[in-house]
Symmetry: C2
Subunit: 393 residues, 2 copies
């Protein structure tokens, strides 16, 4: 079936158990699907935009209340929606970074964080990861000291991912923020893998900026995300335009410079809004999602030769697994080579792994029902057994 | 009916003739509606993202071919999709503007153009408009000369709107670009009100950058837009990351700095893609849309006391009308005051004007059928007659 000349219908999340590392937290809720249908047209949320004409102040649909709810959800003072977490990084970078400024990221930071620093001429510097692939507060402290020695001043900004995209490991965010604060460094908490799937309390963490990805973890259409900040930082990163035109003497009201005015004027925002009550509820059940994920990881680890690259026991549903000693030994002689695994999973209705990958690969079990999790765990072991691997029970 | 706890279903474009100034070109096509339903989930276009992992290189769905089609559509060399035209302004500003640089806009430029200049510390300077609210090539030349005298160098960049948002007037883009080129100033052609509704030939115009708004004029969900550039400018504004991490020595492949990597990872992009064949076709019929618009403007002008603020005869479907001498005289004594007009239009199934506005207001007739245009023209005159105004036929 086609929707448009060249677009096949996409039904991966309707017809399979999807374990794609980045997709599972962004599947729409039923309410978001309805909202997407109703608000698909371009500027669909602008029907009742009145002076002073700003997206976050529109009352119908209740976008203003949603913004307050969003800030409260991560326990911060103010929030704005943005076209993806990366645009929040950009807004913060644009506010603070000047050419040549040292900026701290980590050895596990996402590429978009690097891009945001590069875009404003900052010098991205990494905090070392431990041999267990954890970013510690001690390592942050050491790097801050080394930057101070080299640059004669502390880093201008520090970005830290609560859970990273490579391993899904938990890092010492609270301790890192504490040491950053002792050096007066504003901290951006990157919650791309937390906000919307587990509880996040930005005030308790001490973050200046809490960034979330709505298309990754808040059951929303892309591109969408959130930036929530403290009152103090709101005046900086949400500063309003000071421009005045030289001839017409026009000024531009309360439009926010780093937001480029309004951000998500339609389907993306209503998707976030419609999913939000469900998202707010689902973060309370993170432990269930985590235990399902752990069961699947344990099922994989019971396949002789398999190891886990991520920290263990798992604290996140995103896991990096190493099947070089198990599934990859099959791939070496299988007529489908590495594709046998994707193919076998597909036959069992499981999708989202990289075709051909049988060495080190990632998957994410978030959002499964208990039954789906048991089924997936058994599916991996059945495929192992069918291909002559040993499963230790 | 509700879609989600607090979201009413939006059906303004299904149940009324919408004449909202900014919404009419962004109504989805039926194919886009189907695509939006199929691709609502977060990272929905990333199922088949393979190395080198960049949105514009994905082959299934055919995003790579779509990018080539987009560039060809406006006769430029390369194109990227962006979260709205404003994000294209930001990318161009980020590439060229340094603190204190003079940048030319016009006396009718959109606020987002000012914000993009302000964000990078540029000095936004306006080209004067004529008494008829037209930006001429002569005025551009004069302003360039005055900037050269004051700053000792030409403006770093020039933005020009083919049709402006205030009057929907056509400006001397080709002449303005010519004079800018004579001074080696790169030009951003803002086609928010042209790309997707009328033919645009960027090469013929001589533009360095052609920017379009997909949620405004390409029948797409928000936020979405396009930036198309010459081969030479592509190397600048689509430059890839040069960052290298200090500890891990990671580099980030061919991710583009100003794009922040990938841009529209789901519903917004497929909306653009599904509508595109229809959009490519509809620009050929701009003259029909224009003549419908002219008929409605003439019907309004036939109401005694009405004048048009926009240039006349109209060259665009967006028009600024002055009914201070007609509908506003009714409002002065009507029990609904200024709201009588919106209310009367609503009763006739016409929506999209600002509630209470009876003096100077804007409307856009784009996308109407001939029958809807005749109906709308008659509706305005009927409301006039019902309220004791004189209609000159």
């Amino acid at each position: 079936m086609k929707c448009g000349l060249s677009l096949d219908v996409r039904d991966i999340d309707e017809t399979t158990i999807n374990i794609d590392p980045i997709q599972v937290g962004g599947r729409l809720t039923a309410d978001a699907m309805k909202a997407v249908i109703a608000y698909g047209d371009g500027y669909s949320v602008c029907d009742n935009c009145r002076k002073p004409n700003r997206l976050d102040m529109i009352k119908s649909p209740p976008i203003d209340a949603f913004h307050r709810d969003l800030a409260a959800f991560v326990n911060m003072d103010e929030a704005r929606v943005v076209p993806g977490a990366r645009r929040a990084f950009q807004a913060v970078a644009g506010t603070y970074i000047e050419k040549g400024d040292p900026v701290l990221l980590t050895a596990l930071s996402h590429y978009t964080e690097f891009l945001s620093v590069e875009a404003y001429g900052g010098v991205p510097l990494e905090i070392q990861k431990s041999s267990e692939n954890i970013i510690t507060a001690d390592a942050a402290g050491e790097k801050i000291d080394s930057v101070k020695r080299e640059y004669g001043r502390p880093p201008k900004l520090l970005y830290v991912d609560h859970f990273d995209y490579q391993f899904g490991n938990e890092h010492e965010v609270k301790g890192i923020i504490k040491v950053a604060k002792q050096n007066d460094i504003p901290v951006l908490y990157n919650g791309a893998y937390t906000v919307g799937i587990m509880p996040v309390d930005g005030r308790d963490l001490g973050a200046d900026f809490v960034v979330g990805s709505a298309h990754k973890s808040m059951a929303s259409p892309a591109p969408s995300g959130v930036i929530a900040v403290t009152k103090e930082r709101a005046e900086e990163v949400f500063r309003t335009t000071k421009a005045q035109a030289d001839l017409t003497k026009r000024t531009f009201g309360i439009k926010e410079v780093e937001m480029m005015g309004c951000t998500l004027m339609g389907v993306t925002l209503v998707g976030m809004m419609a999913s939000f009550p469900h998202v707010r509820e689902r973060v309370k059940h993170w432990d269930c999602h985590l235990s399902n994920g752990r069961m699947i990881v344990d099922a994989l680890l019971a396949i002789d030769g398999t190891t886990v690259k991520s920290e263990y026991p798992r604290k996140h549903s995103l896991t990096r697994i190493d099947t070089t000693g198990s599934f990859d030994t099959v791939a070496r002689t299988h007529k489908k080579r590495g594709f046998f695994l994707t193919s076998a999973l597909k036959e069992k209705g499981i999708a989202g792994t990289i075709p051909g990958a049988t060495k080190v690969w990632k998957f994410n079990t978030y959002g499964m029902t208990d039954a789906q999790a048991r089924y997936t765990a058994k599916a991996f072991q059945d495929i192992a057994l069918q291909n002559g691997l040993i499963v230790l029970r």
